[in-house]
Symmetry: D2
Subunit: 390 residues, 4 copies
Amino acid sequence: MSGHRAGPHFLQIPGPSNVPGRILRAIERPTIDHRGPEFQALAKEVLEKVKPVFKTKNPVIIFPSSGTGAWEAALVNTMSPGDTVLMYETGQFSTLWSELATRIGLKPEVITGDWRHGVDAAAIEDRLSKDKEHRIRAVCVVHNETSTGVTSRIAEVRKAIDAAGHPALFMVDTISGLASADFRHDEWGIDVTVTGSQKGLMLPPGLGFNALSPKAIEASKSAKMTRSYWDWASQLGQNPSGNFPYTPATNLLYGLKEACDMLMEEGLDNVFARHERHAEATRRAVRAWGLEIQCLEPKEYSPVLTGVVMPDGHDADAVRKVILEKFDMSLGAGLGKVKGRMFRIGHLGDFNDLMLAGTLAGCEMGLRIAGVPIKPGGVQAAMDYLSGNA
Amino acid sequence: MSGHRAGPHFLQIPGPSNVPGRILRAIERPTIDHRGPEFQALAKEVLEKVKPVFKTKNPVIIFPSSGTGAWEAALVNTMSPGDTVLMYETGQFSTLWSELATRIGLKPEVITGDWRHGVDAAAIEDRLSKDKEHRIRAVCVVHNETSTGVTSRIAEVRKAIDAAGHPALFMVDTISGLASADFRHDEWGIDVTVTGSQKGLMLPPGLGFNALSPKAIEASKSAKMTRSYWDWASQLGQNPSGNFPYTPATNLLYGLKEACDMLMEEGLDNVFARHERHAEATRRAVRAWGLEIQCLEPKEYSPVLTGVVMPDGHDADAVRKVILEKFDMSLGAGLGKVKGRMFRIGHLGDFNDLMLAGTLAGCEMGLRIAGVPIKPGGVQAAMDYLSGNA
Amino acid sequence: MSGHRAGPHFLQIPGPSNVPGRILRAIERPTIDHRGPEFQALAKEVLEKVKPVFKTKNPVIIFPSSGTGAWEAALVNTMSPGDTVLMYETGQFSTLWSELATRIGLKPEVITGDWRHGVDAAAIEDRLSKDKEHRIRAVCVVHNETSTGVTSRIAEVRKAIDAAGHPALFMVDTISGLASADFRHDEWGIDVTVTGSQKGLMLPPGLGFNALSPKAIEASKSAKMTRSYWDWASQLGQNPSGNFPYTPATNLLYGLKEACDMLMEEGLDNVFARHERHAEATRRAVRAWGLEIQCLEPKEYSPVLTGVVMPDGHDADAVRKVILEKFDMSLGAGLGKVKGRMFRIGHLGDFNDLMLAGTLAGCEMGLRIAGVPIKPGGVQAAMDYLSGNA
Amino acid sequence: MSGHRAGPHFLQIPGPSNVPGRILRAIERPTIDHRGPEFQALAKEVLEKVKPVFKTKNPVIIFPSSGTGAWEAALVNTMSPGDTVLMYETGQFSTLWSELATRIGLKPEVITGDWRHGVDAAAIEDRLSKDKEHRIRAVCVVHNETSTGVTSRIAEVRKAIDAAGHPALFMVDTISGLASADFRHDEWGIDVTVTGSQKGLMLPPGLGFNALSPKAIEASKSAKMTRSYWDWASQLGQNPSGNFPYTPATNLLYGLKEACDMLMEEGLDNVFARHERHAEATRRAVRAWGLEIQCLEPKEYSPVLTGVVMPDGHDADAVRKVILEKFDMSLGAGLGKVKGRMFRIGHLGDFNDLMLAGTLAGCEMGLRIAGVPIKPGGVQAAMDYLSGNA
């Protein structure tokens, strides 16, 4: 095999997404003194610029970490050892979050799901209503379940918590949702939003985020889990002066500033509309192929990625291998209990119509080469939609 | 208009081609002393590495210039004022070359063509046979006519010159052909090959090249046109020690080294096969749309670009405008006498199947949006071919 | 204030160090699928290439984190709640590490120091000898104390532990020492080495490291502190296949590979000798100015940075401000209890003689402009040494 | 020899100068369609932004070429075969320009100089006064003679031409002067200014420039030298719409826009003052070493570079070799008739005080190591001046 493949790789996993050159060039700038005035000005600017991306006026904490670290941070800052947290199984990532909770000494109570629907707000309300003693300290759900392509209706979960009159904190993982799918930290009454840099924010991985609410901050003051690296108070104390309690990931912060600028230049609503449009085009392609979409509820279709279910007897990972080798495109594997039974097409981040057409063409050709019995016409269906000829 | 468009621009003009990141990063290295040992080692390496790309063992001259400069260099080094050169009108670029010859004091004799065929070797032979006095000092043809998508059969032109027993120098412009279409400087008995950096070599524009033959070098010794910047002798004198007679375009030479490495890693034959494959897929798309290909001779189809003829009453430039605005893709305009009557799809340089699918999708959707009466199915036809299902 | 300052900024804090262009360009490459074969090959390569930098054959764990995170990781993987750890106060960073230990529920016992000497191995031996019940579970020291410019003799601490016959784990922070100062994880019998990316490794901040010993791994199996993000077992389980338990900081790993290559190309011994030479030149400059060096023990002079003590009545931060404004150079502040009383000159990482000369010139000129009563001749003294004329 | 040298190379030849990262990152952007609207907007912007750098309101032509090409362009656009041009020998580059003139069929008449002074305006006036028939068609002088470090007083040459009442065109090479030394195309009545990208403009080499006057444009209409690549008329016809007659060096134009922005952000007067200051500091160092400055006339000291004369019996190239090997710094060689007898220190372009200190330290140490009998104290003298303690 030669060391060189012509043309760009298509990174169509549901994150990390394709990092635009403008951000890569920002990241490439020389590292500066993280205690000097130039950095402090940058930090203050970034900490403000990131807020509208979350649609919040409250503080956003930025960690040098993966998104997984931001999950841990959300819990250790607000909970005490042995606390019960209510979680909802939407797929692999909600499952990982509950495993993490267990590891660090919490008691997650998980409402099981079928991995093909989003969070059932009624089930949440029902469970909370029964928790008369308010032993449940937090409700933790995933906004956009990366493993399945299902986007839960977060506003309804908020309503459910309110309807139950329950004081639990509300925590939402929007690691793969933020900046691709509509998200409203303040309006939806979220106490802790968890996300990472490598999806809708279009950055390489390496930054984890917690957006807070006053209630979450208040809770952190009495929460008894030990914490140091993830401690919000140290961050909240230093951030206003453009400082961080330990060395931040300076170069990724250069990129974050650029990413925020790009999102605002395009307009968040335009960003969301672009992703909805690409998701719809993708689903039309999948249906034209005669394949099933993993998400069963149209109101919960993800604008970020689409899970494609394999016909019985066909291995999704074999298809992905063909597509990687023949067409230099990476797709997402089925994870956990759906391994081999589905693959995931990422259409998030810095993405446009012709990239989508190339992506779907790679899927259509790869499926055929792999011997999966599909009907042609998927790309055509997507183009008909994209060009207003559907 | 916002300052940011999501996703990459599709630069599908027939050059400059999409510059791969690996080359851009090479070019971004700090400039060094062009008289120091590090540069001299680089220069010697590059001057050797570029030879196999031309399939030559003879010297290759590199100018800081556009390809147009390399045309001028070819003529002023070998001709004397008032000399007759035989040229063949394959399209806009062969026409520009003959205009240049006139400007600098030569007498081009042009065999007219219809812009839909390549060089007629028999016509060359016929003309040379009649030139008993050998007043024609050079035969100048374009290998890959960028304005039409017609690739002339250079080996046959060589045979024609030989059959006529004529001593004229043989000069070939392969500005858009080299490193995408098969080209053999030595085997085809070419005396001066003219090219530029921004097509198959995958670099930004800024370098012009002349590959020489011993006969061309000999001719340059008695040629009487004045020359300084373009003078081969100064280059040939300095290049063996890794020097240039004036400051070279250092950073583009960094990129050229990288480009040569990439071409050799992939293998030139693989590069040519890749382009032939993409050209065939493109033609299948064009035919499926019910449109005509500018090139009328299958043996002369260009692997570099495809000229697409508009139906009467439809303006190619209006289509290009729609595609640029809606799909962020640049296509080539019809030039000169075919302005508005055709557009050109570049499929050269650092390019792969999914980029091609995106490119063709942009054309198909744009043609429909622009109201051109095409049949859908072009992308499908291309995919059928690319995936072995044709 | 204009937006542009001519020439490069001199980043002469003791880390982050000046990131070389070669590493920045590596980091700028597009992010790839962290679950795909290309990444897995990269990860395996990097995980091996980093070992000789620590002089270890044991596993090295890489976290997306700051160096502070790597401290926390070292403790939570090996300790149980309430465990006693013996620490030695060499300066601000050893102090921060003990505060971190307290925060996460350990009981640090700190041997106080004067911030002008390194670890007193005899004091360690004395204390361990008295710990007959082996309640001390770990000895934690800082190799190169970044706040003072004192490099402790780690081999002697190892000997002290052995002499006391004590089974405590031996943990060493070499965040600012690794790859600039000689460091030998295996030979010195270190159980956990803690470091970060932004000093001798010449990367931007964002990676934390733990080098392990078999004894540390064994201890981690019974250690009872809760952990998830920092959990070694998850890393050790996945790393052999080129995977990480959560999304790694892909682009910094590109840079890490390049950094390891650069260190090996130069040769670690040459790297250390270069730093020793620059440190000696710096100290000669400081002495020529008539100023005091913070480190009082010649055997403990840091090759990484030099702490310069201000004469009474002169504020180090005012000097630093002058130097930043007039000469665009960042120097390190005095931290904690020496704030304002000293500044720190970083001479670590990707650094050479002429950068050092510029650095010392900036200090000498800035000190004079700030009105500090120094003698000129510091740069001269450094040059005399560097050029072999001392 | 290892492949890696620590720290940045000091590129202190008098051009190419150190290219700032901001410009390198601009150049690294993907190449775009040079016939599309985005490029046209860029071209129009650049063609305007470059004018104030020349202090002109007249057109500036930009060629993909070296500065040598811009010399040729100046002559072939304005002269007719056999024309006489008056030139003044200030050093190697003025000599090369006269050789070029001869090569292309002009008759240069050269007023000889001693390479240690600038243009003698009185000699020009004297010669022109005698040319009653106005056979001299142009006066061609070098503003900043790169080979010697002598900056001619261009305004006085203009006065001399006027005093002689002579109609010759006035052409000035400011290849190494522009954007480092004060230069005023319009005010000084220059007809053609010749420059390149790789000096004060801080770009890599690859762009040549001609700034014009109405008189020069008028002259070009009747000038009879053949020209095509260098033809102004083609450029002047296309530039107003943001086009060029052939493919421009797109990526260098990205850099040129950035360079113009940087110069305007700093302010041209500040740029000039910075260079004057560094030149004075350099001369003080040279004098402190006890060495001679090549330029003998204080009014003509170059702010761009300083030529340092070797004591008898010492070879400047041997010193340069020592400095390159020991200190990774490139200095300029003595050229032509002063080869080996002097070296040149470039202090142009993107340069600051600490870079200068490092540069002078490299010279001082290298001179001593090479055994040149100098007095120490050069860097000290420079620092004294730079810090206001002289």
